[in-house]
Amino acid sequence: MSRVLPAEGGLRRVIGDGRALPDGEVALTPEQHLDLYRRLVLLRTYDERSLVYHRQGRIGTYAIFWNHEAMQAGSELALEERDWIFPSYRESAIGILRGMPASTVLSWWRGHPAGWWNPEDYNVASICVPIATHVPHAVGFAWGSALKGEDRVAIVYFGDGATSEGSFHEGATFAGVMKAPVILFCNNNRWAISTPVEAQSAAETLADKASGYGMPGVRVDGGDVLAVYEATREAVERARAGDGPTFIEAVTYRTAPHATADDPSLYIDEERVAEEKENECVGRYERYLGRLGILGATQVEETRSEALEVMRAGIAQAEAEPPEDPALVFEHAYAEPPSSFARDLAELRRILGG
């Protein structure tokens, strides 16, 4: 069914290099491979265009996820649509794998209310900005779903830095005790802004934390979309079988600035970045599919231009969103706003109108 190989450093791996490192296999049909490739390219294109839009002043601060696409698309593929995703800002665009319009995500980065969605529409929770604080949400959701007898798995994404937060720890503790059908997916890109993972934890690997919560810990090459898929698929199976949570550490290296405001030249190892860029995840999968004879140059081009079209339409739609009325400031905080809100709004309108 599948063959996952150990890579350097004990990470699980499927994709080889076409030379010394052999390829493994996964049980995906060519169509499924191409679909996965399309998803990777969609994310990549979203990310690259967003950076351009940011430079053009069309979106605000933006958290780049270049070379993180394999972790996102690979793991998402292992889920069913009924399963819930709890993203951090690093997975801001993961909803587009679930049919969310690109304009929604772009609106989020534009600070426009159209960027805030109903999680139930996509089974994707809101983007979590404060580090690790959504880990307990995912755990509570998974636990609560299981209690209701529903067959829904939750996955929560967070970074290497996030594993230092108390929220991560408490969420993981609950997950273990409640045997919640949840996957704790750690994107270990080796940096929390300017802080390297060595300054984050003295653990040899972040996966070493898993046994402290009574759950399996798996390490996988985060640049290998198929290895990520396989590891997540196993974790999903375990969750569905009632065997509880899994911690996945997907190892990669952050090649882009933390976010648009960041200046990594102050701290990063540029050589290592260059190396990593050479080996970035979309190209790796492209070459793998090439070796399998599934993907050719035309298809690559087609896929890319389709994705570009999605983005063009997305930004156009986001920019066409009319400015929202200030009344919105007073909506949605409560199901039934207190009477003072109407007074405040009336006053504000009077002043803004004047």
């Binding site: 819930w84 209310p113 805030w116 969605w117 109903n118 999680p119 139930e120 929770a125 809101s126 404060p130 604080t133 959504h134 880990v135 307990p136 949400h137 995912a138 755990v139 509570g140 959701f141 998974a142 636990w143 609560g144 779903s145 209690l147 209701k148 529903e150 829904r152 939750a154 108390g166 929220s167 720890h169 408490e170 969420g171 503790t173 609950f174 005790v177 409640m178 909506e331 949605h332 905080a333 409560y334 199901a335 039934e336 207190p338 003072s340």
Partner: protein, 324 residues
């Protein structure tokens, strides 16, 4: 149902609401087998099972954080924090998520959770079993705050909180858990949030209070009588606040003393005074006086009586105000 202690009324409310709505679930430290360190959840696990009355790991942010997720899965979680000062690890979840998640979904998802806890001083307990943390909660957008002062309200406000579509923090005055006894309506009983209660009518001044300070204010009113006729207003719900009742009483008596156990600076009495200074200034015959805890760490319990608002301090403030 007859007379119940305040803590028994809390327990009664939980029984009624868990019975009424199968999506209500209680979680917290020691709430299950033990029934809570104050026995507020006694009997729930036996009656509704270990899945609806859950003993959690010792992790308050985990309790409140998983409650957010439980809401997303369709539950209405009622979280117990074991004590006031042990609720602070959960403030991060409260401020950054509980109060913001409905907004974040543009009103599409509800977070009908309750955080309830014993609170307040005067119980001769070790350090950090005495805090009055209402300011931290009431200042936080997106959450509501209720504080009962008697058994019937303890039941009714908690029921309202559980049925409310939004997050509600219910602070239960532990000082009177087992000394406040009163008639409690049987079965379903709801006291709507946002309605204050005139506990005692008066004409010369208003004592505004909530929680354990209400019976104290009543004793102060006794003390002041017949020299002066004091109205006692029990706010019951700090957010939403029954501003109309507050302003009506201030307009009637023209003199207001606000009583609170919490430290003074930015306590809820400040909010009451600010509302009066903004909206009732022409009704006032004198300053708005605050009788509060002091801006110091809650003291060693052999000294706590000097910290806590006392009948004497309330009476003194009232007399000063009447003389002004």
């Amino acid at each position: 149902m007859g007379e119940l202690l305040l803590v028994e009324a809390v327990n009664d409310a939980l029984h009624v609401e868990l019975e009424r709505d199968p999506s209500v679930l209680v979680l917290g430290e020691d709430v299950g087998k033990l029934g809570g360190v104050f026995r507020a959840t006694v009997g729930l696990q036996k009656r509704f099972g270990a899945e609806r009355c859950v003993d959690t790991p010792l992790a308050e942010a985990g309790i409140l954080g998983t409650a957010v997720g439980l809401c997303m899965a369709g539950w209405r979680p009622v979280c117990e924090m074991q004590y006031d000062a042990f609720s602070y690890p959960a403030l991060d979840q409260l401020i950054n998520h509980v109060g913001r998640y409905r907004w974040r979904t543009r009103g599409k998802m509800s977070f009908p959770l309750v955080v309830r806890m014993p609170y307040g001083g005067g119980v001769r307990a070790p350090e950090l079993h005495d805090d009055s943390p209402e300011t931290y909660y009431v200042h936080t957008p997106g959450v509501k705050v209720a504080i009962p002062s008697n058994p019937a309200d303890a039941k009714g406000l908690l029921a309202a909180a559980i049925r409310d579509p939004d997050p509600v923090v219910v602070l239960e005055p532990k000082l009177i858990y087992r000394t406040s006894r009163g008639e409690v309506p049987e079965g379903e009983h709801v006291v709507p949030l946002g309605t204050a209660h005139v506990v005692r009518e008066g004409s010369d001044l208003t004592l505004v209070a909530y929680g354990a300070m209400v019976p104290l204010a009543e004793r102060a009113a006794d003390e002041l009588s017949p020299e002066a006729s004091a109205e006692v207003l029990d706010l019951r719900s700090l957010k939403p606040l029954d501003e109309d009742a507050l302003l009506a009483s201030a307009a009637k008596t023209g003199r207001v003393v606000v009583v609170q156990e919490a430290p003074r600076t930015c306590g809820f009495a400040a909010e009451v005074a600010a509302i009066l200074a903004e909206k009732a200034i022409y009704d006032l015959h004198g300053p708005v006086l605050r009788v509060t805890g002091y801006d110091v760490p809650y003291p060693y319990w052999q000294l706590e009586d000097a910290y806590m608002p006392s009948v004497e301090r309330v009476v003194d403030a009232a007399r000063r105000l009447l003389a002004s």
